[in-house]
């Protein structure tokens, strides 16, 4: 018997597989398809202080081995998430959920995290300082060491839950941002968010995405993500959650060898709604194939 258990910031996971924020809603669409309790955890849809519609459509574009989205943090607002989504989730999911939070000011982040701090179902708060699809917030906090540290400190002040800062790849040096978050008290970092990208409709000579630019994800970004996870994991002492194009059990193992303690699966859930479930099922086979007894023992061992 192989051991798939890992511990992320003091919380034990049955396996390291975590569907990524924005690809799993608040769990319900997937709970209709399979028992989502088989997952390590999942990160719920990026939640903000107020309800948001997000950007105008079209906000999805096809890419080679990937996709662009510019959803722009559509969500019902933290009040509804706490009062409606989480109680609904409780009926189908008994594990800890990762609460993904975004904001437009340091106060926004703190407000939303304080609300979620009171939720027993929330195991971790993943602070998104890297959304490429909103102006005046999101990524602007994740592209400066100072701003990322400021958000980290503000959030740490209002919650006792482990705080993971979700980092943007759209920076000169992701390692320095990760270190700044660590120094400011982050319990972990997760990376990478999507890469800023664009597609143009040649017939119309117009951008495909209404917002022009969007976030690029999918298998095409896996090597970029892996490289960043490797560099960040070498540089910080806090746990790293790796993500970016992960689509198979082998990808999960690679991410862990690069230094990830847990691994998020994003775009793959959208093209195959059973992707995360299949990866969980497939992990023991892949571990046996590569002579891995315990996943915890391979973290950063490359």
């Amino acid at each position: 018997m192989v051991n798939t258990k890992v511990t992320l910031c003091g919380v034990e996971l049955d396996n390291p597989v975590i569907p990524a924020s924005g690809t799993f809603g608040y769990g319900h669409e997937f709970a209709e398809l399979y028992d989502i309790n088989k997952l390590g955890a999942f990160s719920f849809k990026g939640t903000t202080r107020e309800e948001r519609f997000g950007n105008p459509t079209p906000r999805i574009a096809e890419c080679t081995a990937g996709m662009i989205n510019s959803v722009g943090l559509q969500n019902p607002g933290v009040e509804k998430v706490v009062n409606e989504e989480l109680p609904k989730l409780k009926k189908v999911y008994r594990k800890k959920v990762m609460a993904n939070v975004s904001g437009f000011s340091v106060e926004d982040y703190a407000y939303t995290c304080a609300k979620l701090d009171g939720c027993e179902q929330v195991g971790w708060i993943e602070v998104n300082v890297s959304c490429p699809n909103v102006h005046g917030g999101g990524m602007s906090f994740g592209t400066s060491e100072k701003a990322a540290a400021e958000v980290t400190r503000a959030v740490k002040k209002v919650t006792a839950k482990p705080v993971l800062i979700k980092l943007s790849p759209n920076v000169t040096d992701i390692v320095s941002i990760a270190k700044a978050c660590e120094d400011a008290g982050a319990d972990g970092v997760s990376l990478i968010n999507t890469l800023l990208g664009m597609r143009i409709d040649i017939k119309r000579r117009k951008p495909v995405i209404s917002n022009v630019l969007g976030g690029f994800s999918g298998p095409a970004v896996f090597p970029v993500a892996l490289g960043m996870v490797y560099r960040v994991a070498k540089a910080v002492k806090i746990p790293v959650v790796g993500m970016g194009g992960v689509s198979s059990a082998e990808d999960v193992i690679e991410m862990m060898l690069a230094g990830a303690t847990a691994v998020e699966v994003g775009a793959a859930n959208l093209v195959n709604p059973f992707a995360s479930s299949e990866i969980v099922d497939d992990l023991p086979r892949a571990m046996e194939k590569y002579g891995i007894n315990s996943l915890e023992n391979i973290i950063g061992r490359c």
Partner: protein, 243 residues
């Protein structure tokens, strides 16, 4: 929703750039006209949503127009090949308010889902009228199929090469209806919205990520809040639409 590997039984052109594909396999998750499926295309990342034209428990028919790489690749698929399909997606047409004389209004590749709907309405004993709008005579498809169901069919062509010259709304005066159902390009839907006198339902299109409500890629604003075209739609009631 179910993930089904269907076998292609036919994939033939029925008008310029328009193909009819029939699939055999478990179609039991498709329960209402107006629903759609999301098709995996070899070599492309995102699935392609295609509306269902006709369905039974173990077969389905779709009609699609070749407009890009995805539909082009689909058009090259041969009978006997398999298709990876997420079946039974979306919220289809509801029949409750159709009344005695429902009118179905379709434009171009908006016509196909109305065929399955016409079949269901005929089963209920309704007197079904259909307006089919095309650009030109050579583009017309499924006129006879609707007639075979016993529907009264009016055809419009933008260039006047067949039937009534103009758009679907130019045929509205020749109909007497208790309710309507529309599917077609958005400018057509807007015109139908303005020019119809009863309540009705509209089927919408949008670029989708997942097709099953998870990614929020295809959201729209409605009178009753934000809706996902793929999950809460593609069919919306006239009364809830915000243009």
């Amino acid at each position: 929703m179910k993930r089904v590997y269907f076998e292609i039984t036919e994939n033939i052109p029925i008008a310029p750039s328009v193909y009819k594909i029939t699939l055999s396999g478990d179609a039991s998750d498709i329960t209402r006209a107006g629903q759609f499926v999301n098709v995996k295309i070899d070599g492309l990342y995102l699935r392609r949503p295609v509306s269902v034209c006709d369905f039974s428990r173990d077969a389905l028919t779709m009609i699609y127009k070749v407009v890009g790489k995805g539909t082009e690749k689909l058009s090259m698929k041969k009978p006997g090949e398999k298709l990876d399909v997420l079946s039974g997606l979306g919220n289809g047409y509801t029949l409750d308010n159709a009344g005695k004389r429902p009118l179905l209004i379709g434009g171009g590749v908006g016509v196909p889902p109305l065929y399955g709907l016409a079949k269901e309405l005929k089963k209920l004993g309704a007197e079904v009228s259909v307006i089919l709008g095309f650009n030109t005579k050579s583009g017309i498809f499924y006129r006879e199929e609707f007639e075979k169901l016993g529907a009264k069919v009016l055809v419009t062509t933008a260039d006047g090469s067949y039937g009534i010259k103009g758009f679907v709304t130019d045929a509205l005066g020749q109909t007497d209806y208790t309710y309507f159902y529309a599917c077609g390009p958005e400018p057509m839907l807007k015109a139908v919205y303005k020019n119809t006198v009863t309540d009705g339902q509209f089927s919408f299109e949008e670029r989708m990520g997942c097709g099953f409500g998870a990614c929020m890629g295809c959201s729209c604003k409605t009178v009753t809040g934000y809706k996902r075209i793929c999950k809460d739609g593609p069919v919306l009631e006239k009364g809830e639409i915000l243009w």
